[in-house]
Amino acid sequence: MSETTPPVAPLPEPMQSSALRITLRTAMILLVFSLVFTTMMAEVYQLTQPVLQATALDAKRRLIAEVLPADAYDNDLLDDAIDLPPLPELGLADATRLYRARKDGQPAALVFETTALDGYSGQIGLILAVRADGRLAAVRVTQHKETPGLGDYIDPKKDRNKAEPWISQFDNRDFAKTPREKWRVKKDGGVFDQRAGATISARAVTKATARAMAWALERQDRLYALQAGTRYQEKSP
């Protein structure tokens, strides 16, 4: 890397005369580079699109399988969905989908997302399945920014207790038997454990779950009755 090495392609002599010509020539080179590399990106995008869509669908199935066992329903969940508008009641700022599980044509469970806005560092995304009989099938964290090694035990993948992760205490919890004032972490007088030093994360998940269950159970007749593919609208009170 000595000083004498020539820099990348110098402009040829005659071109150095007019500023306009230099501008045009350089712009052309930039344009050619942009075209070539954009084409490359577009080609790779086209090539990978089918694979990406398949994996996205697969990921959705796997996520649903985490909160609802496959033997709880016999319909095609991904097709039996309705669109939810942004719902501040659920902490959702964007439109999401709600999946309806049915068994023998009878309502079995609602699978939908909710967001806890009061995590220790930002929002905690949750997915949960609420059974038609009022039990919570399970709830899982889809995304969070809680402190690694401290508050991230709300995600079973990061929970050091692999045999009985923290979030598994919500599995099959009956909302009717655990009333809302008991649906809290123990520190707040409820029934759910929290880990020392990171109550805020646990409290946020617990609160958001209770709120989402109450929301779903209140309107579940309407939610099951809506035609698949339509958009749910909150009734004005």
Binding site: M1, T5, P7, V8, A9, P10, L11, R25, T26, I29, L30, F33, S34, F37, T38, M40, M41, V44, Y45, L47, T48, V51, L52, T55, T147, P148, G149, L150, K157, K158, R160, A196, G197
Partner: protein, 227 residues
């Protein structure tokens, strides 16, 4: 090109001009991602790939790049390569992508890629440039890996936590007792600065000691010669 050129490049990348320890580049991904060793090394490996490709591409195209507008073109090349690597990882190495996915776009902001392309690849033949990119990447990996290991060990008493996302079935090492409550500072960003500062101090100390020894040896030699 003789082997000594390659050896010199390797020495520069791994130690003498190490992108992190001596040039203090790449601090953004370095501090953000080094909370655990597995995260750190995973990002490092993706960085090696991008650095090798970017250096190769810039070096191969250097005859067509006008000196005056080289920077936008370099950035265009690097950003395109990162996008392509991102898409390919997502499609064909999806499990690894779930771990690395959030970090791959960060590589665009990693100034060591641009720094190497500008300082080396734009002036050297393609093979040498790709080699330099990869070696500089390895220099980045060992530093970020070590930083991640130290922070993880002090912060939560483990090593290799999260390894099961990369190698299914493998488990993390619990080194400190299970009831170790962790040392939060090491995991939070200030901890990264502290540990990095100590590592740089360590490097400077080693270099200083090596210099002193060389000087002492030289003195001894000249003393022997005059005697």
């Amino acid at each position: 090109m003789s082997t000594s050129v390659y050896r010199e490049i390797a020495r520069n990348g791994l130690w003498k001009q190490n992108a992190v320890l001596s040039q203090l580049l790449a601090l953004c991904p370095l501090l953000a991602v080094s909370t655990t060793m597995v995260n750190a090394v995973s990002l490092g490996l993706a960085t090696i790939l991008v650095m090798g490709l970017a250096s190769l591409a810039v070096s191969a195209l250097r005859g067509f790049i006008p000196y005056e507008v080289r920077i936008p073109i370099f950035i265009l090349i690097i950003a395109s390569l990162v996008t392509i690597v991102d898409l390919l990882f997502n499609a064909y190495l999806h499990d690894l992508y779930l771990v690395l996915g959030i970090f791959i776009p960060l590589i665009v902001t990693n100034c060591i890629v641009l720094a190497r392309v500008e300082a080396f690849a734009a002036k050297q033949p393609a093979g040498l440039a790709a080699y330099d990119g990869v070696v500089m990447g390895i220099g980045f990996v060992w530093v970020i890996g070590l930083l991640g290991a130290i922070r993880e060990f002090i912060g939560q008493g483990t090593l290799f936590s999260g390894i099961e996302m990369v190698i299914p079935g493998a488990t993390a090492w619990q080194i400190l007792p299970e009831d170790y409550h962790g040392f939060l500072l090491a995991i939070l960003p200030p901890g990264a600065f502290f540990v990095l500062g100590l590592m740089i101090a360590g490097r400077n100390w080693l270099d200083h000691r090596a210099n002193e020894r060389a000087k002492a040896r030289l003195l001894a030699q000249s003393a022997a010669a005059t005697a």
